[in-house]
């Protein structure tokens, strides 16, 4: 048998396996120099503005209005007029079609919104493209379908709209939170005044162009921008019938106090300190992925983030070793790079808060681990962090950090896991990892949290109710239950 001549070829093996940069183009987005308020279908010129920036490099993006109580009053008046002049009495089937249009336009312009979201908020394009935008469009599509079916959702209750809803949303999922608020409100026949977060107003302002394209009647959605003063003015506004707030527990309590005795409706989606519980029979590699997704998704700027990891003692060492190893593969950097896993911290103030709490963790005696990673010089950055040797009393185990910081604790029995997991004033979400079905249901029943993810984490869907127990707030967003805060009933 003849020898076969094998061609020999030298293959270049790179010594460095890091990813080449893969930046998403920002040409698709046009940002105006200056934005006013979107009131009654028109742009109002602001008297005072502030600069909104890109947290990845502190680049100024636009001047945005700081709305006064007077500006808010005009927006509320426009919403009231639109409510009375037809939106509330429009047949549900017609309201539905406007919402379907909005959903479709968001799908069509998804990349533009995703780029702007990552630019203004700092989250990885991978997430804004694959999570925020698809979910935002899905929310509008989902609630569109409810608009003419409310009688079936609430039989014998004769549902009718509440009126004008004031909606205040956070900076972690700017457009998605807008969708969570606006879609059910409009489906139920309400009109809205929405205030996006101070640091992330741009996708909400671009959304006004979607409203124009959808030909939504003027004044049905009004958007005012500004800091906490603008939000307070909206809460105080006498002609608002309902307030929906997503944000910190501290501000949520202040709003609840402020509304005492006014008879205004209120829903609150507040902070969390979720327990993510891993039993010794869990599929460890899957659990590690779930833990990483639970706390480093969106830089940990997630109210339902799995920030307290409870590991059954017998697997503590192998699990922490796997986790730390996995952290070394996370790519921290430019939010517009398609390979980025962890983007920029949203603001200087948030970075300061994370640093302060991390310093407290070190001072109180916890052991810190951060993977080697080079953080950009400009902008706001914080490396993914794991704390071990954490006691339940430490601030990093008690307080919401809202950053990429995980506290690892241990337990021996299921009862102990439940006890420790519930040892918090919060109750937004929880995670359980085990291959034993009966234990999942046993745990799910005992965890005092509005959402329990079993063998998964941080999943969202417009059809799935989301909201907290205890100091994580009240009311649900998503699903049939998400309609109720925007309806009055005759009983």
């Amino acid at each position: 048998m003849a020898e076969i001549d094998k061609p020999t070829r030298e293959v270049d093996v790179p010594g460095d396996w890091t990813y080449a940069s893969a930046p998403e183009s920002r040409d698709i987005v046009h940002i105006r120099d200056r934005y006013g308020y979107y009131v009654g279908g028109e742009w109002l010129e602001p008297a005072e503005t502030y600069e909104t920036i890109a947290p990845r490099d502190e680049e100024p993006l636009a001047a945005v209005g700081q709305a006064t109580a007077e500006d808010v009053g005009r927006a509320v008046a426009a919403a009231r007029t639109a409510y009375a002049d037809g939106w509330s009495s429009l047949p549900g089937s017609e309201r539905a079609k406007y919402l379907f249009r909005i959903a479709r336009i968001l799908q069509e312009r998804a990349r533009e919104f995703a780029v702007l979201e990552s630019l203004n908020g700092g989250k990885p394009i991978k997430e804004s493209r694959d999570v925020d935008l698809p979910l935002a469009a899905a929310h509008f599509f989902y609630y569109a379908g409810w608009a003419d079916k409310l009688e079936y959702a609430f039989p014998n209750r004769r549902p009718r709209p509440v009126g004008v809803a004031g909606q205040i949303i956070p900076w972690n999922f700017p457009l998605l939170m807008l969708a969570w608020k606006v879609a059910p409100a409009l489906a139920c026949g309400n009109t809205v005044v929405l205030k996006p977060a101070e640091t992330t107003p741009l996708t909400a302002l671009l959304f006004c162009d979607v409203l124009r394209q959808a030909e939504l009647p003027d004044g049905v959605v009004n958007i005012v921008t500004g800091d906490g003063r603008t939000g307070a003015a909206l809460v105080e506004s006498e002609d608002v019938d309902k307030i929906a707030f997503t944000g910190s527990t501290e501000v949520g309590k202040a709003i609840q106090r402020q509304l005492a005795g006014t008879g205004k409706r209120l829903t609150l989606e507040l902070g969390g300190k979720a327990a993510n519980i891993v039993f010794d029979d869990a599929a460890l590699d899957q659990a590690v992925e779930g833990i990483v997704n639970g706390i480093y998704f969106n830089q940990g700027h997630v109210c339902c983030a799995g920030s307290r990891l409870f590991v059954q003692e017998s697997i503590y060492e192998p699990l922490v070793a796997k986790l730390e190893r996995r952290l070394t593969t996370l790519r921290v950097g430019d939010p517009l790079d398609k390979n980025t896993d962890v983007g920029a911290i949203n603001s200087a103030a948030q970075l300061e808060k994370i640093r302060e709490l991390v310093a407290s963790g070190e001072e109180e005696g916890a052991t810190i681990y951060q993977p080697p990673c080079v953080l950009p010089e400009k902008g706001y950055w914080f490396a993914p962090t794991v704390f071990t040797n954490v006691a339940q009393s430490y601030r990093i185990a008690q307080e919401e950090i809202f950053g990429p910081v995980l506290s690892v604790l241990t337990f021996r029995t299921p009862e102990e896991a439940v006890e420790k997991a519930n040892n918090t004033p919060y109750g937004l979400s929880a995670g359980v990892w085990t291959e034993k079905g009966s234990r999942i249901l046993w745990m799910a029943q005992r965890l005092r949290a509005g959402v329990v993810w079993a063998n998964t984490f941080n999943r969202f869907d417009p059809g799935s109710p989301f909201g907290g127990y205890k100091e994580s707030g009240f009311g649900r967003e998503g699903g049939r239950h998400g309609l109720e805060p925007y309806l009055e009933f005759e009983e």
């Binding site: 899905a138 209750r157 527990t249 949520g252 309590k253 202040a254 609840q256 106090r257 509304l259 005492a260 005795g261 609150l268 507040l270 004033p425 999942i440 799910a444 949290a449 509005g450 959402v451 329990v452 993810w453 079993a454 063998n455 998964t456 999943r459 869907d461 059809g463 799935s464 109710p465 989301f466 909201g467 127990y469 205890k470 100091e471 994580s472 707030g473 009240f474 649900r476 699903g479 049939r480 239950h481 009933f489 009983e491």
Partner: protein
């Protein structure tokens, strides 16, 4: 010589027992000296409620329904006594019927209020109602029995433990109800009934950090202040009506829990 009747001491109902107020105070109402609960009595009652709540919530819905039904049986047996302490036989009958109506809800709530959710992915996802925990109730002044029953039953049948403050001016029906509860199968601490001054006890309950929800039905002008205090731990505040009957009354004291699990091979 006619026999001298034995008169009753009107006491509080906390943790299944009938203590006097730890403060030693009473006030006169409906011609009787009635215990005037203190801040400390409220705290004791909340502690008893918190301790009893998990067991009550863990009982099967069928069992809870039967226990609630048994309350109606106990009132029916004392109907004549109750009639003298409230608006009469009609109020007693309506109260009994309302309890029976709510008893039947215990094992139907999850199907009416919850369900499975069709999420866009390979996950099984369902939502179930659960009790919010410890509920404070300020009962309306009138009607003294039906008003208390109307506000007490919704949180109770939903699996919560309750600390209720009776009608201040007409508390005797509530004390009678406590005695009926004590002979029913309701576990001690699941219902705690206090008599006393609403203006004094309301703020203690509204600001208590281990109370999850408050029904301010009987708070009258104090409701705004109670709402303000309730914000300290994000309490659910319910403005209950004195005469209403609906599953949505129960829903006011429930949380919704949504559970996800992947589907796969």
């Amino acid at each position: 010589m006619s026999r001298l009747p034995v008169k009753k001491t009107y006491k509080l109902f906390i943790g299944g027992s009938f203590p006097r107020s730890e403060s030693g105070r009473t006030y006169e109402a409906e011609g009787q000296n009635v215990a005037r609960a203190s801040r400390k009595d409220v705290r004791d009652a909340v502690r008893a409620a918190r301790a009893a709540q998990p067991g009550w919530a863990a009982a099967t819905a069928y069992n809870r329904g039967q226990v609630v039904y048994r309350i109606a049986e106990m009132i029916e047996a004392r109907a004549a006594e109750f009639a003298e302490l409230c608006g009469g036989a009609d109020e007693v009958e309506r109260s009994i019927d309302r309890i029976v109506w709510y008893a039947g809800w215990a094992d139907k709530l999850p199907q009416v209020l919850g369900g499975s959710n069709p999420v866009a992915g390979p996950y099984f996802n369902f939502t179930v109602p659960e009790p919010t925990g410890v509920v404070a109730v300020l009962a309306p002044e009138d009607p003294p029995l039906l008003g208390l029953v109307t506000r007490l039953l919704p949180p109770l049948v939903g699996g919560n433990a309750v600390v209720a403050v009776a009608s201040e001016s007409r508390p005797l029906a509530a004390v009678e109800l406590a005695e009926a509860l004590a002979t029913s199968d309701v576990p001690g601490g699941v219902v705690n009934l206090l008599t006393g001054n609403h203006a004094e006890l309301g703020p203690v309950l509204a600001s208590h950090m281990d109370v999850n929800a408050i029904d301010v039905c009987g708070a009258d002008g104090d409701a705004p202040e109670l709402e303000r205090l309730a914000a300290d731990n994000v309490k659910r505040v319910v403005h209950g009506r004195a005469d209403v009957q609906s599953p949505w009354e129960i829903a006011s004291f429930l949380e919704l829990k949504t559970v996800w699990h992947p589907m796969g091979q």
